[in-house]
């Protein structure tokens, strides 16, 4: 039983990272109906930037975090402007492939720039361990869970109470109507990409102390797809719940099932969900017009 709880906690921590990446998918998909297959690469780039800022340039952790967020927000906007905006309205297939291409470019550029060695950053919470009765909780895991919860509250408040957040919701509900109401749709798209890149960056920096920073870190983004689909792809809380479920399932199947199941558990869950409930756990039913 203790093992179970212990594994569940570390699963929740990993799941929060999946959830944060999935959140990036969902934000972009809700607003622009583009599925960004390069989301994992954005996370990787965020982690690498944090290495440059914190380990190489010797900035304070929090300052480095902030600098990464700013840089990645700019990069997100740039990606939107250069690659995604010209192909809005193309068949979904083309857009998916374009973002896959974008991911390949980012991955190989990161490999060229930062090399292929495993990198690490020091965080204020490294190596600290909390004891909760018989349970042992690593501070890194705890930091991920707390930061994810915090980020959720911030995003919720942003979309609920700020002018810009409400405008973004309007754009994602009906682009044309939003445009008629005087909302600058193009600028909203750019901001959505910036926010999504920042969320990915946060995930990357939080994950950096747990796993090494490597140019293949972006493949973790592929694990976030099951999370997003599980949550319904258009629901922000759904993405997080989906992420946590995937993380827990993965960790537990790694612990209890034979070797090999850990890597595919997420995808088995994904296929099962798609077969039984394609709209996801929290998504609404979809109807398609001609």
């Amino acid at each position: 039983m203790l093992d179970f709880v212990q594994q569940t906690i570390s699963g929740v921590a990993v799941g929060c990272v999946y959830g944060l990446i999935a959140l990036g998918f969902v934000l972009i998909y809700k607003a622009t109906e583009v599925v960004n297959f390069a989301q994992g690469e954005l996370m990787m780039l965020g982690a690498f930037l944090s290495y440059t800022f914190i380990a190489t340039l010797g900035l304070n952790y929090w300052l480095g975090f902030l600098a990464c967020l700013v840089c990645m927000a700019l990069l997100g906007m740039l990606m939107e402007r250069l690659v995604v905006r010209p192909i809005l309205g193309y068949p979904q297939f083309s857009i998916v492939m374009a973002t896959i291409g974008l991911g390949m470019v980012l991955r190989s550029l990161a490999g060229m720039f930062w090399g292929t060695d495993d990198l690490r950053i020091e965080t204020p919470f490294s190596k600290a361990v909390y004891h909760l009765g018989p349970l042992v909780i690593a501070a890194d895991d705890l930091s991920i869970i707390v930061a994810t919860a915090l980020l959720c509250v911030i995003l919720y408040a942003f979309f609920r109470f700020t002018r810009m957040g409400v405008a973004m919701q309007a754009v994602s509900q009906n682009m044309l109507a939003a445009y008629y109401m005087g909302i600058p749709v193009k600028r909203m798209f750019a901001s959505i990409w910036a926010i999504s890149a920042m969320v990915a960056t946060a995930a990357g920096i939080l994950l950096a102390p747990i796993t090494f920073i490597h140019s293949n870190l972006g493949f973790l983004g592929l694990k976030a797809f099951p999370a997003a689909v599980l949550g319904g792809f258009t629901s922000i809380p759904g993405a997080l719940v989906g992420g946590v479920i995937i993380g827990v399932v993965e960790t537990l199947s790694g612990f209890y099932l034979p070797e090999g199941f850990k890597d595919i558990a997420a995808y088995v869950v994904l296929l099962a969900v798609l077969l039984v409930r394609p709209q996801g756990l929290l998504g609404g039913a979809m109807l398609k017009k001609v």
Partner: protein, 373 residues
Amino acid sequence: MSFRIRTGYEDDLRLFKTRESAIAYGLLLAVLLAAPFLIGSYFLSQIVFVLIYTIVGVGLVLLSGYAGQTSIGHAAFLAIGAYTAANAAKYGVPIYVYLPAAALLTGVVGWLVGLPALRLHGIYLAIATFAFALIVEEILARWERVTNGNEGMMIKPATLVGKPLGESGLYYLCVFCTVVVVLLAVNVIRSPTGRAFVALRDSETAARSMGVDAARYKTFAFALSAGMTGLAGVLYAHKLSFISPEMFTLSLSIEFVMIIIIGGVASIRGAALGAIFMIMVDPLLVLLKDGLPGLIGRISGSPLLQDKASVLLSAPGVKSLIFGLIIIFFIIHEPMGLDGRWIKLKTWLTQFPFYRPATFRRQKMYLKSERGR
């Protein structure tokens, strides 16, 4: 303008629309048949790879270009074909039995994968196929009794009536398979099935209200495409004579999709052009690595810049960087792919002084929502 005037139904039903195209394809076939006597074994094996990629490309064109279903997991079908061949060859089954059998088996698997496609569209389908491919990849590594795990498998050379097939024999087998697959694809496209595919692609709701059985045609498209890929898998296994799970990864699936993006999504000819392009990338890259740094050094006159360039070009990520840029470039600037270029060139030649680029100007596209409103 050049018009093709049709005076009877036969004009529209013929396989070759004009006599010129019949002659052109006949010549192409003649050249392909004569190739082993004309060129060395390096180029012959490159052509074999082009033919294998063409078969996969044709399968994807049918699925993505005509039936409008996305798949980024075709490497899994290739793997199923390849491993079927390897196991059948191990037990001494003759190639003329397991070649169609592997295609059939892969087709059945494709049909099974197509089942969720009935409820999914667009992005969900892409994710489902890609999850399927990852699961297959894991099974290949773990099911050691059949696949020999990560150590990989050697494939016995193919024999035909006791005699080894040899290099040129394999080449002719590839040519034969490609011709069969292309003819099959062309015939499917111009039959009611192909028209049903196109109708489903353009609007599923409209097609269904016109009486197209969406479930049947979608799963059939998947089965057909997977079967073709499985056939290619058998040839691929024999060409390489060694297969292991890490050859059938996500990046191979993406290479397959690149074939049709570069070639042109809804064109059989495009699949061949895309396959040629994809196979040529590697030799071209080698040329670039050898030639470009020297050229830069000579132009700029600084050996430092030359060293920098050669280090940059031999970095491990260069190929994937170039692939990524190619994908983005083609999607933004030439959605019709190389086939579109071909058509434009042909139009330019036939209408020589009167060609206007505006003929092919794309319609402005607006975001069409996939969500219900």
